[in-house]
């Protein structure tokens, strides 16, 4: 009897292998998100600085990393740095560097947007009520900023997760690569590629969808 191919997912440890590959992407995404949030908060404050030159430098950084396709940036670091500086970075490290540069800039822009969307009268009203600046931050300004920032930051993290799929192109053995290895091993199963790629598609969806749904809900509730 002809095998339909879906069985490839459950042959041996194939499913565990795919999950292992997925973990490689997720690990890169999680490290990137962690670094981007911390560095992005600082970057956002720099973007709000009173010094024009500093703001201009930050703006230039943001525009440059936003302008270039992620894949080009990955190539520049992975292939270019090795050639220029002799740094032989592995794929995962290059990916974390590139995505963090990008994530930090995007996160910083979100922080800037959230902070500057708080009207000045909020600060003044807090002062009029007799709150100290520290109290004003604690009870008035930070809560409002967080409400604007959090949904967008959560959305950014799904973008980072989706972008990490690109690491396949710089020779990281992530879920697509593992999928190809499995397909190669079971090349006799004609429909195997269909089921493997469909599974990877669904896996990404199952990770990103709940996160962006959460962001959407928070946005609606706090709007």
């Amino acid at each position: 009897m002809q095998d339909s191919g879906i069985s490839i997912l459950f042959k041996g440890v194939n499913f565990q292998r795919l999950m292992g590959g997925l973990w490689v992407t997720l690990r890169i995404a999680l490290i990137t998100i962690g670094l981007s949030v911390v560095l992005g908060l600082a970057f956002g404050l720099l973007m709000l600085s009173r010094r024009k030159a500093l703001r201009a430098v930050c703006r230039a950084w943001l525009e440059i990393v936003r302008f270039m396709p992620q894949l080009v940036l990955l190539y520049l670091v992975y292939f270019g740095f090795a050639r220029l500086f002799g740094w032989d970075l592995d794929g995962e490290t290059s990916a974390v560097i590139v995505f963090t540069f990008w994530g930090t800039a995007e996160m910083g822009d979100l922080v800037r947007g959230a902070v500057s969307s708080i009207p000045l009268h909020q600060r003044e009203s807090a002062a009029a009520l007799g709150l100290t600046p520290l109290q004003a931050y604690r009870h008035v300004l930070i809560p409002q900023t967080v409400r604007r920032l959090l949904p967008q930051a959560i959305n950014l993290s799904t973008r980072i997760i989706k972008t990490t799929a690109l690491v396949k192109m710089i020779n990281v053995t992530e879920v697509l690569k593992v999928g190809q290895q499995i397909i190669g091993q079971f090349y006799r199963l004609r429909e195997a590629p269909f089921w493997v790629y469909l599974t990877i598609f669904i896996l990404y969806f199952l990770i990103c969808w709940p996160i962006s749904a959460l962001a959407g809900r928070l946005e609606k509730r706090w709007a």
């Binding site: 191919g5 302008f67 270039m68 396709p69 992620q70 894949l71 080009v72 190539y75 520049l76 292939f79 270019g80 090795a82 050639r83 220029l84 799904t158 989706k162 972008t163 799929a165 690109l166 396949k168 192109m169 697509l176 999928g179 004609r190 429909e191 195997a192 590629p193 269909f194 089921w195 493997v196 790629y197 469909l198 990877i200 598609f201 990404y204 969806f205 990103c208 969808w209 962006s212």
Partner: protein, 223 residues
């Protein structure tokens, strides 16, 4: 820098840029049409279709293009659906972009006040006429910044066409890099080529946005 290498390979990059630009634009055009149709279904709450469109928008926005392309190009042929690389590129980009464009247009449509539609009805316009002459022009003006941002995002995403064995910019660069060993020259040309494509698009987007604002579409005029 090996200038003779660079001048010798300018035609390769021009050819690659043409592939990137051409299929990027096809994809963008299909995304705009698909997204607009989807947004109308969502905004006017067309029964049944609405649930389908919602599912589609979530699927397209929560999965990476790279995975979508692998599924289209390497998965689908195994169950008898065979698309050329070029068709996969356009279908993939339209699948991804349609979801993003739908969201952009939907928020534009929702920003148009209900009274506009009622006013259209009052002066005897049919629903399609109201949509065409009253609602859409205003919705476009509000949606324009998001739509243009999506266009630039989609053109950047074309960098993934190289997995489809298309000779786009990325693939041209990859081929030259692996064969010639002139990594720095190749990467520099790659960056310049993307700047040459993306810069005019983003300048054009800014100009059109500004013009639409001058035209005063979508602004609330007091009666």
């Amino acid at each position: 820098m090996d200038w003779s290498f660079i001048t010798a390979h300018v035609p390769d990059f021009l050819a690659g840029a043409w592939v990137t630009l051409r299929f990027g634009l096809y994809g963008v055009a299909c995304s705009v049409v698909l997204g607009l149709l989807c947004s109308l279904v969502l905004a006017y709450r067309v029964p049944v279709l609405r649930a389908l469109v919602r599912a589609y928008v979530e699927l397209s926005r929560n999965t990476p293009l790279l995975v979508q392309l692998f599924f289209l190009y390497a998965g689908l042929p195994r169950i008898g659906i065979r698309l050329s690389a070029e068709a996969c590129a356009v279908v993939g980009l339209a699948f991804l972009g349609g979801g993003y464009m739908a969201e952009a247009f939907r928020s534009g449509l929702e920003a148009v006040d209900r009274t506009q539609r009622e006013a259209g009805e009052c002066i005897g316009l049919t629903l399609p006429q109201t949509v065409r002459y009253v609602v859409l022009p205003q919705a476009f003006a509000t949606a324009a910044p998001a739509v243009f941002a999506n266009m630039i995002f989609l053109i950047k995403e074309t960098s993934m066409f190289s997995v489809l064995a298309m000779m786009d910019l990325m693939n041209v660069a990859d081929t030259l890099r692996t064969s010639g060993g002139r990594t720095i020259e190749v990467l520099s040309m790659l960056v310049i080529a993307y700047v040459a494509i993306l810069l005019p698009v983003s300048v054009l987007a800014t100009l059109v946005e500004r013009r639409m604002r001058y035209a005063g579409f979508g602004h609330q005029h007091s009666v």
